[in-house]
């Protein structure tokens, strides 16, 4: 008897309650392992870091849950023992082994088991916002990012609490408390500040100082690309200031409407990319005189603000969807200056970038001065205009230097600020009045206010001991001579770092109605339960399946941009990665396209949910949501979309059985699974296994570097991948990964269809043999196969939804429950909303 057995025996005798956690391996299973597994998976070789040389299984070790779930998959699918082995188990042996593992797993891995779940970043933000009735609430810059686990950032196990995070919570709590109960401050002395042209901000191509005046030439929305403001001034307190702005019109066009200058107030700390349309207008000024004129007016500036000058009716704009103005601009200049367009065309002929800004304009000027420019054909003119209009950031930011030099331009000579002549209630003061009302709920007794507040903050009735401790804290503070505001300030700060606020469902026993309300609300709305839902929880009826379903239906998203849809699709399909990917220039993929791509997926998901579409429509729908730009440039559509909606997502009918449409073959997913420059079939293969088929491969062994086929080489990616599927240590997983990755090779890094591998003159071979032995030719065949075998996909998506909802990856027993729900739902029409509602009523969802 070895030591381990001895230990086992001791445990069995001494601690009978532990014995259930350790099951000895029966003789038949030991023989199976001995005969079919231990050649590779013994303690010494432990191939794939797996050893099955065991006499018992310790089910208290969670690693064993995963190990045996994997073993079950391998035995059931016939993947193990490897096909090439001479002696393989008979069908009966295999079935018996699978049945044994299944029963053991079911017995030892019960449904449930989410550890206390901290609010993640987005939940925390939504919670604070809702709790205090804040209209605007952004987390402080650098508020810690959550870690992902199993592809989601809201899993109990992954949501670690660390000292810097607790510090951030504490700091954020103070900021929030300051908004409700602002600390008293000293009023500043009035002063004055003068900003000449050289003290005005310039960024990108927003302006240029010539002869002591700053010239503005564009009207785009983001102020950093069009406006200017004093760089060394911000209002010290909210108050009335006397502003003067000295302006003039530089070479205004005769007969045109007068120039309109708009003065806005802007928070200095807001991002420079803020749009003037979001700013508060202080004054509108008509500028007709070519000589500087000073306009004086009184305006309210809030603490931390500075005045911003914008030329509202400038001709140029580098951001708008309607580019006709830019075209008109070029054409007018070409009429005035012969050779203008020819010079531009020559300047940019061999350059995709580098000329942006005044550099490019200087070149155009020297080309014009040299003369001898060829007459452009109509086609050449059109081609150039198309290019220039199509890339307004690059071109408008260059041509604006012509405006700075030759006008018409709005000139800003000087801006002065004097004051405050009197203090006013700024947004801070106004907001605090409102927030106090929300906080007290009209109550005046501190103890009542505190009890009500804690009940809302902790999302459930709070026991007396806890309430009393907060009331005592408040009273002690008052007794120490602090103000009532300071005492409540401290209560707020304390509640927001309490584990009862930071963690959800942190209670003894099973998930009760309040926990269920919390789980449901965060799942479907990304925010805490509202008063209505809490009332149902209080009545004790929420766990009734009918009531639960009605309440869930009420919380379902009403629009495609709902937090649930954004957070879930972004993480399920990895489209959150889009902001990190910079598509190569050759793909002509704009920032707006990237937004559209992300939005497409959200609209698809929303329609699936709203219309209770069959699950197969995730794969091969007869519709898609897209923008005109993506419809044309990525999906190669000729018609069916609205040409005017260049960057606006709208519904477009599709033929079923096509290349695009559904979650495969859309721009967002194809981008997220590539790197912006080239495709990597292995990445896409892993993605399909994980997110479509629900059979994620184990993580790659540590010692091996990731294999990225060099698509620039002479051999095809398929050849290169074949090289390592031949490698025995790689083959096990890559036989599954590579084929499904190669199926997607027809989609380039932004999802556009291609027939040739880039860099080599070879047609793409996207054919593959699927896990069940079926052979498909390309994505169309793969989609048809998925539609015919939809359950694995539905189970995968259901598993992801429950992972997101419950905060844990489904275990063996939970996956069995999911499979049952999916199969039942298929027989009942296979609607997606029905599936989601059935999942809410599952034991998996209802168990802690």
């Amino acid at each position: 008897m070895n030591l381990r057995c001895l230990k086992f025996l001791c445990l069995t005798f001494l601690c009978p309650f532990l014995s259930e956690a350790v099951s000895p391996l029966p003789e038949a299973q030991r023989a199976f392992l001995e005969n079919h597994c231990l050649d590779c998976h013994d303690a010494e070789t432990h191939k794939g870091e797996i050893s099955l040389e065991l006499t018992e299984i310790d089910w208290s070790d969670e690693a064993n849950h995963l190990l045996w779930a994997r073993a079950l998959d391998s035995v059931e699918s016939g993947e193990m023992p490897p096909k090439k082995r001479k002696r393989r188990p008979t069908g009966d042996e295999r079935e018996a082994m699978a049945a044994w593992i299944d029963s053991e797993l079911t017995k030892h891995v019960p449904i449930g088991g989410t550890p206390a779940r901290r609010l993640n970043r987005t939940e925390y933000r939504a919670t604070v916002k809702q709790l205090f009735g804040l209209r605007e609430f952004e987390l402080p810059p650098g508020f810690p990012i959550d870690r992902e686990l199993h592809g989601f950032d809201n899993l109990g196990e992954g949501l670690v609490l660390s000292p810097p995070l607790l510090l951030s919570y504490s700091e954020t709590a103070r900021l929030v408390a300051d908004r409700i109960f602002p600390p008293a401050r000293k009023a500043p002395e009035p002063g004055s500040h003068r900003a000449t042209a050289n003290d005005l901000a310039i960024s990108y191509s927003s302006g240029k100082v010539v002869n002591g005046a700053l010239r503005l030439g564009m009207k785009c929305d983001p102020i950093q690309r069009s406006c200017t403001w004093p760089t060394r001034f911000e209002a010290e307190a909210s108050g009335v200031y006397t502003l003067t702005v000295t302006l003039s019109a530089f070479r205004p066009k005769a007969g045109e409407a007068p120039m309109i200058a708009r003065i806005f107030a802007r928070d200095v700390s807001s991002p420079d990319g803020v749009k003037h349309t979001e700013l508060r207008l202080l004054k509108e000024i008509e500028v007709t005189a070519e000589e500087p004129r000073t306009f004086r007016f009184e305006a309210e500036l809030f603490e931390g603000q500075t005045p911003v000058v914008h030329w509202a009716n400038a001709a140029l704009d580098s951001d708008r969807e309607d580019k006709n103005e830019l075209r008109a601009f070029y054409e007018a200049r070409d009429r005035e200056t012969p050779g203008y367009l020819a010079a531009w065309r020559a300047m940019t002929a061999n350059q995709s970038q580098g000329f942006r800004g005044g550099v490019g304009w200087d070149r155009v000027k020297s080309l014009l001065a040299k003369g001898d420019l060829p007459e452009l054909t109509q086609a050449q003119r059109e081609a150039f205009l198309k290019k220039a209009i199509g890339n307004p950031v690059l071109y408008a930011e260059t041509v604006v230097f012509d405006v700075f030099e030759n006008g018409p331009a709005l000139q800003v000579h000087e801006v002065t600020m004097k004051g405050p002549s009197r203090l006013i209630e700024g947004p801070r003061e106004k907001e605090s009045q409102r927030l106090r009302k929300v906080f007290t709920g009209g109550e005046t007794k501190p103890a009542t206010i505190i009890r009500n507040f804690l009940t809302r903050a902790f999302r459930r009735p709070v026991d007396d001991a806890t309430v009393d401790s907060f009331v005592e804290l408040h009273d002690r503070h008052r007794a120490a001579g602090r103000t009532a505001d300071e005492a409540m300030h401290l209560v707020v700060r304390s509640a927001l770092i309490s584990p009862r606020f930071l963690y959800r469902c942190l209670n003894d026993g099973p998930l009760d109605d309040f926990d269920l309300a919390t789980r449901l609300a965060y799942f479907l709305t990304g925010a805490p339960p509202d008063n209505k839902l809490l009332a149902v929880a209080r009545s004790g009826r929420l766990s009734d399946p009918k009531v639960l379903r009605t309440k869930a239906e009420r919380l379902l998203p009403r629009k495609a941009t709902a937090p649930f849809i954004e957070n879930f699709t972004g993480q399920w399909l990895d489209t959150r990665l889009l902001s990190e990917i910079m598509p190569d220039r050759q793909f002509k993929f704009s920032a707006a396209d990237e937004q559209s791509a992300k939005s497409e997926v959200e609209h698809l998901f929303f329609e699936m949910l709203k219309e209770n579409r069959p699950m197969t429509d995730f794969i091969d729908p007869d519709f898609t949501w897209t923008s005109a730009r993506l419809a044309k440039n990525v999906y190669g559509l000729k018609s069916g979309f609205d040409k005017k909606k260049a960057n606006t997502i709208h519904r477009v009918a599709l033929q079923r059985g096509g290349r695009h449409g559904g979650v495969l073959g859309n721009a967002a997913v194809m981008m997220a699974t590539a790197n912006g420059v080239d495709t990597q079939p292995v990445l896409r293969g892993v993605w399909v296994l994980e997110n479509i088929l629900g059979t994620p491969p184990p993580p790659p062994p540590k010692a091996v570097p990731p294999i990225t086929p060099d698509t620039q080489g002479a051999r095809t990616p398929r050849d290169l991948l074949a090289a390592h599927t031949g490698e025995p240590s790689c083959a096990g997983c890559h036989r599954k990964i590579d084929p499904v990755g190669l199926i997607l090779e027809n989609f380039n890094p932004v999802g556009r269809w291609r027939d040739q591998w880039p860099g080599i003159d070879r047609p793409i071979d996207a054919s593959a043999t699927l896990p069940d032995g079926a052979k498909v030719h390309d994505i169309v065949g793969f989609k048809a196969w998925l539609v015919a075998n939809i359950d694995p996909f539905s189970e995968c998506l259901a598993g992801k939804l429950l992972t997101y909802a419950t905060g844990r990856a489904p275990n063996h027993s939970e996956r069995k429950e999911i499979a049952g729900i999916v199969s039942k739902n298929r027989q009942a029409g296979n609607g997606f909303r029905d599936l989601l509602l059935a999942l809410v009523d599952s034991k998996t969802f209802r168990t802690k």
Binding site: R356, G357, L506, I581
Partner: protein, 419 residues
């Protein structure tokens, strides 16, 4: 200084192969146990968002006798006090997101060099570490052990307030700290009550809460103690505005460097990072306003005029960096040594070539810190066993007295190049 056991030395040789010259025993000894008197005491890491134009940064020749490239001209006076590296990076993929790799190694958002150092040596200072940015911070640079990105201070006045708080600020701060401690006591007591009634798994999770709470409590206690200590005083005065406007980024850089030197001199912290932003800022240099924003210039597409302006901007960064080195040489630490001798200054970036968004061959320079400097260490990244940027970081950590054998994908060190 202790010698490492021979077995380690053999493993080292085996692991690195024979392509590396045998490092001198003296410098090799540095990785031993955390030494009582490390050669360097402070770490400053500076990262530029848009990198440096490579051929103006990397010298053409390797070794001591290299000809100063344009961007190193401004620091010519410190030539003997820095080492410039080419060919180093983290072998990370390209793209904007990978900028964050700069101090994190191959995995973006992993425990960054500065935080690893701060966790080891920063805990006794008023501020375990300070994170700053000149210009808007578009990327994160410092990441905690848990992978959490740390916020950066963008306003010099905020940093100044931290270092040399006014009496009113100090009173409010003290009030917040003391009352904050009473709220910690309350939630601690409440959490203890909760803990007795939850499941084993939840208890483990609450363990994280208790650990964090204790840590925050310690920090608050330390800060309360510091309230009673005299706050360092300075004659240094900031302008009456914060240079947060894009046009004023270079001014912000100057102020941040001044305050950084003061922070080190007053021993307020041992670890500082500075992010140097790069968006639309249009700079005026020597009275001439550039023809395009910094970001547009970085996408130079090999256009010589755009490159010339880009180098002008980068030269301004280097001039300010030089002034910082000047200050570190002039100011002394508690032992009367020049600050530069005990401060490692790492100047680098997560961006190798911003025109292509390439994250390889990262411009890197190390100054001070008690190393023997003066060379250009040119490494060939295509060579087998070529060193990684992480190997350099290991050497920096060891110089600061940390026991460090691995950093991200790197497991050797570059101690021998300073030997």
């Amino acid at each position: 200084m202790k010698n490492p056991p021979t077995a380690n030395r053999r493993q080292f040789l085996k692991a690195t192969g024979v392509t590396l010259a045998l490092p001198a025993l003296e410098s090799f000894a540095a990785p031993g146990a955390k030494t009582d008197s490390p050669k360097a005491r402070n770490l400053v890491c500076i990262g530029t968002y848009l990198g440096f134009y490579q051929s103006a940064f990397f010298p053409k020749q390797a070794g001591f006798d290299y000809e100063l490239p344009t961007l190193l001209n401004p620091v010519a006076g410190h030539r003997g006090d820095f080492t410039v590296f080419s060919g180093l990076d983290h072998r990370a993929p390209n793209g904007h997101g990978a900028w964050n790799n700069f101090l994190c190694g191959q995995t973006p958002d992993a425990w960054s060099l500065d935080q690893r150092v701060a966790d080891a040596i920063g805990q006794d200072s008023r501020f375990p570490s300070i994170q700053l940015s000149a210009g808007k911070a578009s990327r994160s640079m410092s990441h905690t052990r848990q992978g959490i990105a740390l916020p950066m201070i963008q306003r010099p006045s905020v940093l100044y307030g931290k270092l040399f708080a006014s009496p009113a600020d100090r009173a409010r701060n003290e009030y917040l700290l003391r009352s904050g401690r009473s709220s910690l006591d309350l939630v601690l007591e409440d959490a203890r009550r909760l803990q007795s009634s939850v499941s084993a798994a939840d208890k483990a999770k609450l363990g994280e809460y208790f650990d964090s709470l204790r840590d925050v409590e310690k920090r608050i206690t330390r800060q309360i103690k510091a309230v009673d200590e005299p706050v360092p005083e300075t004659d240094y005065r900031l302008p009456d505005y914060d240079p947060v406007a894009p046009t004023l980024q270079l001014e912000a850089e100057t102020l941040m460097y001044d305050l950084m030197a003061l922070a080190l001199e007053t021993e307020s912290t041992r670890v500082i990072t500075l992010f140097i932003g790069g968006l639309g800022q249009v700079f005026t240099i020597d009275g001439r306003t550039l023809q395009a924003g910094y970001h547009a210039l970085s996408h130079h597409g090999n256009d010589p005029d755009a490159i010339a302006d880009l180098i002008r901007v980068e030269t301004e960064h280097m001039k300010r960096f030089n002034a910082f080195l000047d200050q570190l040489k002039a100011k002394t630490d508690a032992q009367g040594r020049p600050l530069l001798d005990s401060t490692i200054v790492l100047l680098g970036t997560g961006m190798g070539d911003s025109s292509r968004h390439a994250n390889s061959n990262l411009p890197t320079l190390v100054a001070g810190g008690g190393f023997q400097h003066g060379r250009h260490i040119a490494t060939d990244p295509t060579a087998k066993d070529a060193p990684l940027l992480g190997d350099l970081y290991l050497t920096l950590m060891q110089q600061l007295g940390l026991e460090a054998d691995t950093f991200s994908n790197a497991g050797r060190n570059l101690n021998h190049v300073f030997g």
